[in-house]
């Protein structure tokens, strides 16, 4: 089994290095094929491991001693337990599909080889993140996915910066830097948390840390919990560090599907799930997490209501669903969070890949107001996206129903009715914006003709590659019972109270009702044709929502601009006037003294001999003094 662990972990790395060898050369189909095959191998190994863990329990392997310095001992170990096995399977499934999909999507891109190298490197980092048996390994993977995310968001780095009015993300390079910098801020918090753990426990191994949790003081646990959650907030784009995720849509669409929907952004949720023994001890922090998650859920959903950008809508929906996951994890229902994470990974990746097909067909046009009626030309994409949207809305019997409904039940069960209500409302909004997107893209009048587009369906193998995700988006929820049985060997079981059990049917009906209601409203408004109401679009609320609550602008005015000005002052006043002046002064002194002493170098050997004699005398005097 040990070799399977290494195969699952290292085959993406091998693929990445292989593709990197051709990084600068023109497109070679072989890189795409090889990385896809290696990813598939990794996927097979992960599924095998899942089976094995199912039957025999967790595997723990130690690759080598990593850091051994004094009392500090950190082995490079990997731990495949129930949670990790689920994460590995999810990651490799989506990755494999995305790799195959990218072969078609990136077909005409100059950076074909480079793209696959980055993508596989990302998968490797993600595997390190989920498989590590200690916090430091997790942090390495954490940073690794951050770097790969940066590389991939900025994949089309050569695009020029434009103003916010033209493109809210300004440019891929800008978006990549934004994502990276925001994550750095959060990672600092996470690093502090890890330091605190090491400081107080003396180890970073999960099992040892969690063994020590009950004996630690409450205040300390709260501090560690908060700092780790700050890290999770950055990676999972929770408020107020959320702006980067929508801008990250500048990356190629497969990247959005893999990194910014299915895997990397869920790393924060994974961290909270992984650290559940810690968070169980600090209910106030957990409750705060739940509140943040709930807020982000409705906050992001509200922005998605009015957005016109195909990918950004899905990105906000991702944010919103991450909020759901955090709400579940914060309320102590860790397995529910994990379940929603997995389900969401499948249908959201599918949704993004479908969006990629649409973009492909529409020549990178993203404005859904310019689409419409595409179901005739893109039947399969329409079906995929419809299924994914239904799953996202939580319509029975698709995957999203089982996970989302359970989250709502949990919120009800915890007597946090406000959270329940907000999440319930969000479910309706989710349904509305999802189907607004579907109807505006695939139904209604064929507006694209006016803009001179000639959409066409993508290659067949791309559609086939999406099939596994489509199936999983439908059937994943049916395995809820097995899933629970599997993961509660590691995660705390969550029992509904009797009162909730009675209410389950009512709650489900309520949820279904609002979801269907949302779809119905969308159907009414958009299925026939696009009607733009001046009054609505000019209203203040619409403006606020479409400008993302002016938060990006606020960040720019309140943080970026003053910081730039401060840097300017530091450069012109401090650096140029003080530091540079000092250094230049030293250089001038040396230069002047050199100018002055150059006449010593007369070129006459006799003079030199004189100087030498003087030196000998001085040294002799020194020797005499020393001898005395």
């Amino acid at each position: 089994m040990e070799s399977l662990v290494y195969i699952a972990l290292f085959s993406p790395l091998v693929g990445s290095l292989f593709a990197a060898m051709f990084g600068m050369s023109p497109k070679k189909q072989i890189t795409g094929i090889v990385t896809s095959i290696l990813l598939f191998i990794s996927f097979l190994a992960s599924v095998n491991l899942l089976m094995y863990v199912w039957e025999n329990g967790p595997i723990h392997v130690k690759l080598m001693d990593w850091i051994v310095a004094g009392d500090m001992y950190i082995p490079f170990g990997f731990n495949v337990d129930q949670v990790t096995a689920v994460m590995m399977t999810v990651v490799t499934t989506v990755s494999t599909v995305v790799h195959i999909y990218s072969n078609g999507y990136m077909e005409h891109d100059k950076g074909f080889n480079r793209f696959f190298s980055y993508l596989s490197a990302f998968v490797f980092s993600m595997m390190v993140l989920v498989m590590s048996d200690n916090f430091l390994g997790l942090f390495i993977g954490w940073e690794g996915v951050g770097v790969c995310s940066w590389l991939l968001i900025g994949f089309w780095y050569h695009k020029e910066d434009v103003t916010r009015d033209v493109n809210p993300s300004i440019s891929p390079a800008w978006a990549a830097n934004e994502a990276f910098i925001m994550n750095r801020i959060a990672d600092l918090g996470m690093l502090v948390g890890i330091f605190l753990i090491y400081w107080n426990v003396g180890s970073l191994q999960y099992d040892e840390v969690f063994k020590a949790v009950p004996s630690m003081s409450h205040g300390l646990l709260v501090a560690i919990g908060i700092f780790l959650f700050i890290g999770a907030m950055g990676k999972s784009a929770q408020f107020p560090l959320h702006t980067w995720l929508a801008d990250a849509m500048e990356g190629p669409t497969p990247v959005s599907a893999l990194i910014h929907a299915a895997t990397m952004v869920t790393a924060g949720v994974y961290l909270v799930i992984r650290a559940n023994p810690l968070y169980s001890e600090i209910p106030e922090v957990s409750y705060f997490i739940a509140l943040v998650g709930t807020f982000v859920a409705i906050f992001a959903a509200s922005m998605a209501l009015v957005n016109r950008d195909l990918k950004r809508i899905i990105a906000y929906s991702t944010l919103s669903q991450l909020g759901y996951m955090f709400a579940a994890a914060g309320l102590g229902a860790y397995w529910v969070a994990l379940f929603h994470l997995a389900a969401h990974a499948f249908f959201k990746a599918l949704l993004f890949l479908g969006a990629g097909n649409v973009m492909h067909a529409m020549h990178d046009e993203l404005d859904i107001f310019k689409m419409g009626g595409l179901k005739k030309v893109m039947r399969w994409t329409y079906i995929y996206m419809g299924v994914a949207s239904l799953a996202l809305c939580g319509i029975w019997p698709l995957a999203g129903f089982f996970s989302k409904d359970t989250i709502l039940e949990v919120a009800f069960n915890e007597h946090t009715y406000i959270i329940w209500f907000v999440l319930w409302l969000t479910a309706g909004m989710t349904a509305f914006y999802s189907f607004r997107l579907v109807f505006l893209t695939f139904w209604s009048d064929e507006r694209y003709k006016k803009y001179g587009f000639h959409p066409h369906e993508v290659q067949n193998y791309v559609l086939w590659a999406m099939l596994p995700l489509g199936i999983l988006a439908i059937i994943f929820g049916w395995f809820k019972e097995d899933f629970v049985e599997f993961v509660i060997k590691l995660l705390p079981a969550y029992e509904m109270s009797e009162h909730t059990e009675h209410m389950v049917t009512t709650l489900t009906v309520l949820t279904m009702f609002i979801a269907l209601g949302g779809i119905w409203v969308a159907f009414k408004m958009y299925s026939e044709r696009l009607v733009r109401k001046e009054k609505v679009e000019n209203s203040r609320i619409y403006k606020i929502l479409s400008n993302q609550y002016y938060i990006p602008v606020f960040y720019e005015r309140a943080i970026s601009k003053p910081y730039a000005e401060l840097s300017d002052i530091a450069w012109k006043e401090v650096d140029m006037q003080v530091v540079d002046a000092t250094v230049d002064g030293i250089a001038h002194i040396i230069e002047d003294s050199g100018e002055a002493s150059v006449q010593v170098q007369s070129g006459n050997l006799s003079d030199y001999l004189n100087w030498m004699a003087i030196g000998v005398i001085l040294l002799t005097i020194l020797a005499a003094i020393a001898a005395l």
């Binding site: 070129g603 006459n604 006799s606 004699a613």
Partner: protein, 100 residues
């Protein structure tokens, strides 16, 4: 009775004479002579210390100094000849190519 000090003082004086020569003279050949004087002064000191301490190490050093002096003369004189052939002068004041 002559002590070690006498020899050392003599060696110092001879060395000083050699040094004066090195400082004062501008003719390269004279510089060579002055260098020989300094080397010999060192030899005298070595031999004297060797003798008074009943230790052969000093004499060994003297031998090696003689060997070095011989090689120095062989090479140095060759260079001097070459220099003289090329520029026709042995006066240091005529050679200031390395002026900074």
């Amino acid at each position: 009775m002559i002590g070690l000090g006498h020899y050392l003082i003599l060696a110092s004086i001879l060395f000083a004479i050699g040094l004066v020569g090195v400082i004062r003279r501008k003719n390269l050949l004279m510089l060579f002579f002055a260098t020989e004087i300094m080397l010999n002064a060192a030899n005298v000191a070595f031999a004297a210390i060797s003798s008074y301490h009943n230790d052969l190490t000093g004499q060994m050093f003297a031998f090696f100094i003689v060997a070095v002096a011989a090689s120095e003369v062989a090479v140095g004189l060759g260079l001097l000849i070459l220099l003289y052939k090329k520029y026709g002068s042995l006066d240091l004041d005529d050679y200031t190519m390395l002026k900074g």
